[in-house]
Amino acid sequence: MTTQMTPGSGVGSRIPGAFSGTALRTDFPVFDRPTGTGKRLVYLDAAASAPKPRRVIETIADAYGHHYANVHRGIYELSEDATARFEAARATVARFVGAASPREIVFARNATEAINLVAYSWGRANLRAGDRMLTTQLEHHANIVPWQQLCREVGATLDYVSITDDGRLDPDDLRAHLANGPKLVAVAGVSNALGTINPLTEIVRLAHEAGALVLVDAAQSAPHMPTDVAALGCDFLALSGHKMLGPSGIGVLWARRELLEAMPPFMTGGSMIIKVTLDGAEWNEVPYKFEAGTPAIVEAIGLGEAINYLTDLGMDAVREHERYLFEQAWAALREIPGVRLLGPDDPAIHAGVISFVLDGIHPHDVATVFDSEGVAVRAGHHCAQPVMQRYDIPATTRASFYVYNDTDDVEALASAIRACQNLFS
């Protein structure tokens, strides 16, 4: 086994069988492109959206070029071909998340739309005045605002599990809120703003004991670690294709079959019906009941290919790769004076997302100076303003890793921080 270590750091080594991020970079055409300053692109913004492998881009072009027609309705070979590819993608997603059947996979525009589908359909049918539901202080706005709107509309109360100083959900606060009998717990697999990996198995167990259903916002976890809804036992799970090497405009809601069967439609129109008369309509079977109108056909096929790329690497290997890079980066950044790191210290519960603040330098200035070094990071509130409020900061700079990153990117990150500090010193 070859052990690669950053000089001077005593942190973890690569596991046997892990892949090289540098080698994978050739799979991504974006890395052929020089940055505006002519430097190598150091892409550290996967948490916002991920670059696309050539395989995915070529699959999309081929689907549009040679296999495109509308799905589920053509009585001709081309439409049957398109339908087969679209439904194969659904089956690929089902295997990827551990669903019992492809019928539990609803295609949506993104994780936001998938969560809204649950809020509008399940929420408005099941939440009543005086009921409670629970989310957390570390959520993305996509897992807060739909619930705020739902609770406001039906007269329910939305509670939030608080977070600790190091960015973990407070387990005592979770138990206290569960004792109030919420109907639903909506929680992220991984915090996009802090990188915290939430203890989902424990949360699902406690929530079910308290009689609540559990929705997992997997937008930030599904791209980076194995997902298994059967093992987890959750009730709903939402993810976005564009964060996991797939195209934008496609996301997924997984829900247990019996929940989907009982839920009323979210959007109505074509495709989602079995029969329409001037007096009314009967709904199609699941998942089609939730897919009104022509779906994002090629985007779904592209997502399927992105999942194939990830499963070829192996999601355990993806997680180990990012854990290794996290350990290298965390150790390197902790050595630099004036860097405040957010989120938990423990690599077992911290994904490849590092949110930090540089003393006396606004994150937007940080990101601009980084850009001149070829380093693409996100600066802002990361659509998680309650997290910023919790730590009383206006914004953070966030570096996030994925399969194409490697230790050279960690070094570029540390050196960009020093360049920024020198400029502002």
Partner: protein
């Protein structure tokens, strides 16, 4: 991009002019830049006629571009009439900054302008169209 942070921008950022909250004041407005979390307040004192600015203070927290822009903008305000301020063109402020402001940073550069206009117009001021179409 390095020339965005020319020495005089950094100098204004480190030692901003007219920084502070004037109390008492005649006009006051607060605003923020939701994409960055920048917050800024502007307080103005007027002469006895209530038409000419005699003193100005800005306060808040934000990036080097927004802070330097506020420092530079407020420097030129004493002795200006409210009508002159209302007629100000945001492009003049960008020219005065004299560094390339890309679309991602336009709202940083013009936050002080927006807060000033809010103060002299007595309420929320719409972003200039070119800034609205270029959010970071």
């Amino acid at each position: 991009m390095d020339n965005l942070y020319r020495d005089f921008i950094l100098e204004h950022y480190r030692n901003p002019h007219n920084k502070g909250f004037l109390d008492p004041h005649d006009l006051h407005f607060d605003d923020s830049n939701p994409t960055c979390g920048d917050e800024m307040s502007m307080t103005l004192r007027l002469d006895a006629g209530g038409e000419t600015i005699t003193d100005v203070g800005f306060d808040g927290r934000g990036c080097a571009i927004s802070q330097a822009s506020a420092s530079i903008l407020t420097d030129g305000l004493r002795g200006q009439s409210l009508d002159q301020v209302r007629a100000m063109n945001p492009k003049d402020l960008l020219d005065e900054l004299g560094v390339p402001i890309g679309p991602a940073r336009l709202k940083c550069a013009l936050l002080s302008y927006k807060v000033l206009q809010g103060a002299v117009r007595g309420g929320e001021f719409e972003w200039p169209a070119e800034a609205e179409s270029m959010t970071g």
